[in-house]
Amino acid sequence: MRTRMPAQSDLTPPDVTDIEAVIRPFLALEGPLLPMLHALQEAYGYVPESAYAPLCAALNITRAELKGVLSFYHDFRTRPSGKHVLKICRAEACQAMGATAMADRLLKKLGLEWHGTTANGAVTVEPVYCLGLCACAPAAMVDGKVIGRVGDARLDTVLAEVGA
């Protein structure tokens, strides 16, 4: 969610030892799965498939249960995202300040749909439903950094910064 790690290549997924080191600190928690998935995503930018077996073994859950959880939540990825993630608020207060048209222009300019990643892998654009910045709408977030009253010009600056 914060600064993305350079996404690990799919060819060299983290091995069991790496995975176990990431999830171990959470073993004693009540309901440890979400904290583990967040930690894995923080470390690798996504939840790699090589983590499934160690997670299932550690928590005594089935692969189906794990995949059910992974697919339920919008946050968890099973593939790397772009190097940066730009989230644009689509919710009502931002719509009242022109967010819909702004997002449409952005996506068109990048030639993307929601959740799409630019061809150079620099940025993934995702919808978000409220960032709690509704009194300074429209709102956006780049890698965990918030931006209020965002407009076309500001988005251009952001895109330049992330190398899109």
């Binding site: 009540e30 939540y73 919710a91 009502e92 207060a93 960032l131 300074c136 209020g148």
Partner: protein
């Protein structure tokens, strides 16, 4: 000289970090002795970054301040608003829950105590569990998460349940568009929430708490996590709270981007590491909640209001408000408004006064067309309904709800058919999938509204019927309340659903 620069994420979103950075550099260059304090926001977002300079014990407010204004600010060449307390938007408020927010350093427990913090907890420690619950009942506090259920009754159910372990779970999922009160208090006065949860723990006999914060709030997560560590080190949390021999501790947990996880049973499943699907009630979470054990689930504002109730007394709190809506509500003013921000006031202010006077009308200067109150599941109100006083029953009487008290203002460029369609689309995206009326109904709702947009007026009856099914048949208020925005848009703005619209375009 002390200089306050908010670290609230709305202030940051408008450049507060840059302002603080330039201030520090400029002060050093000038050899000025300044202490920069990163406070919470005072809630007047249109003035952010709102910088306060304290000289001889008096704080003067300046804002909005851009990094390029910093030189002039230090030269004394920027006009002041005077003290924050004199700014009309602030002066009209009754700040009970948010009394300290923006005033103090959010992570200084000494500052917290100097401004009345921990007084409520100290009083509660000396009371019996019975007396604690009675105090909450007497205050008239109702859940601020949306449903408005009396907090004291919920606590009593948990207190009376027998179990080796009980929990206090704070619902900080705040997914409603137009709301940010939870975020603001977690970033601006986190110890209030910790104190409120601790009082709840003592009152109900729960020794463990969780704060479930949505992942969209990284700043709130960071501040809250740090505050918990500080409170633990200061003996406010732990096995011997303030030397009382009573135990309570808590953990911060992060959501994963699912709106429905704000629904309490879905939240509990998520906390347990499961898919965030809604559970059928009964059993109530108060009896079988987290890991099947008795659990209080309360909204951030409900819990953060508890300390002031104990510090000032239940009667004091209950003396504010209207009818069965007792106390104050932090109303969040958002969307297309001139003066957006947080406005805490006693229940009872008419909606029109909030929109036209407090919020100053629209930012665009165009006429107000509609106001959505209570998030994506709340109704759109028409200016004809502006006399409605802000209260649970009063809004109910208008087929509307106050929810978490976010009000989102739209000007006359809003197309209400699109807003109705969005409500259905949102429900379809966020449905947990457990019940059919919500999972399928929302998808059919989008399609039906598209038919209306294409001029098929017969589909209006179908939409009305579908909304009835969703209202009556959904397991939770996601599917059950999506008809509020849809039907209110249809009822109050029929012209936006009429076929000539298409022809005129």
């Amino acid at each position: 000289m002390k200089i306050y620069v908010p670290m609230d994420s709305a202030a940051k979103a408008l450049g507060a970090d840059d302002v603080a950075g330039v201030l520090a550099a400029e002060a050093q260059k000038r050899g000025l002795e300044v202490e920069i304090i990163r406070n919470g926001t005072r809630g007047m977002i249109w003035l952010e970054p709102l910088v306060e300079i304290e000289k001889d014990g008096v704080r003067q407010a300046y804002g909005p301040i851009a990094p390029t204004d910093v030189g002039a600010l230090l030269d004394g060449r920027v006009d002041t608003h005077g003290s924050v307390e004199d700014i009309p938007f602030f002066a009209r408020q009754t700040r009970l829950t948010f009394a300290r927010c923006g005033l103090t350093d959010p992570l200084s427990i000494a500052d917290y105590e100097a401004h009345g913090g921990l007084e409520g907890l100290k009083r509660a420690i000396a009371m019996s569990q019975d007396a604690i619950i009675d105090e909450v009942k007497l205050s008239g506090l109702r859940g601020r998460g949306g449903a408005g259920f009396p907090t004291g009754i919920k606590w009593d159910t948990v207190r009376l349940a027998h179990a080796p372990q009980k929990y206090i779970v704070c619902n900080a999922d705040e997914g409603d568009s137009g709301t940010f009160a939870d975020r603001m208090i977690m970033e601006g006065d986190p110890f209030t929430l910790i104190e409120g949860m601790t009082i709840a723990g003592i009152g109900c006999g729960a020794t463990k708490g969780y704060i479930y914060i949505r992942s969209e709030y990284p700043d709130a997560i960071a501040v809250m996590s740090r505050a918990v560590e500080i409170a633990r080190a200061a003996g406010v949390l732990g096995v011997d709270i303030l030397g009382s021999g009573k135990a309570f501790d808590m953990e911060v947990r992060t959501g994963a981007g699912a709106y429905v996880c704000g629904e309490e049973t879905s939240l509990l499943n998520s906390l347990e590491g499961k898919r965030g699907v809604v559970r059928a009630k009964p059993p109530l979470p108060a009896l079988e909640g987290f890991l099947g054990r008795p659990t209080v689930v309360n909204n951030v504002i409900s819990l953060a209001t508890v300390p002031v109730i104990f510090a000032k007394g239940a009667e004091h709190y209950a003396s504010f408000g209207l009818g069965r809506s007792k106390g104050t509500m932090p109303i969040q003013i958002a969307g297309n408004v001139k003066f957006g921000g947080l406005f805490e006031t006693a229940f009872g202010m008419p909606l029109g006064e909030l929109v036209n006077t407090v919020a100053g009308g629209t930012a665009t200067g165009r006429p107000v067309k509609a106001v959505q109150v209570g998030g994506p599941l709340g109704a759109y109100l028409h200016p004809d309904q502006f006399d409605t006083p802000f209260g649970y029953e009063e809004f109910d009487g208008q087929k509307a709800l106050i929810g978490h008290a976010g009000i989102v203002v739209f000007d006359d460029s809003a197309d209400m058919l699109s807003m109705a369609r969005f409500a259905m689309e949102f429900c379809a995206v966020e449905s947990c999938g457990k019940c059919t009326p919500c999972r399928i109904g929302a998808v059919r709702g989008v399609e039906t509204i598209d038919r209306i947009a294409e001029g098929d007026t017969g589909a209006i009856e179908l939409l009305t019927d579908l909304c009835e099914v969703m209202t009556d048949g959904s397991l939770c208020a996601l599917g059950g309340f999506t008809p509020f925005p849809v039907m209110s848009a249809l009822r109050h703005f029929p012209e936006d659903f009429a076929p000539q619209k298409e022809a005129a375009e």
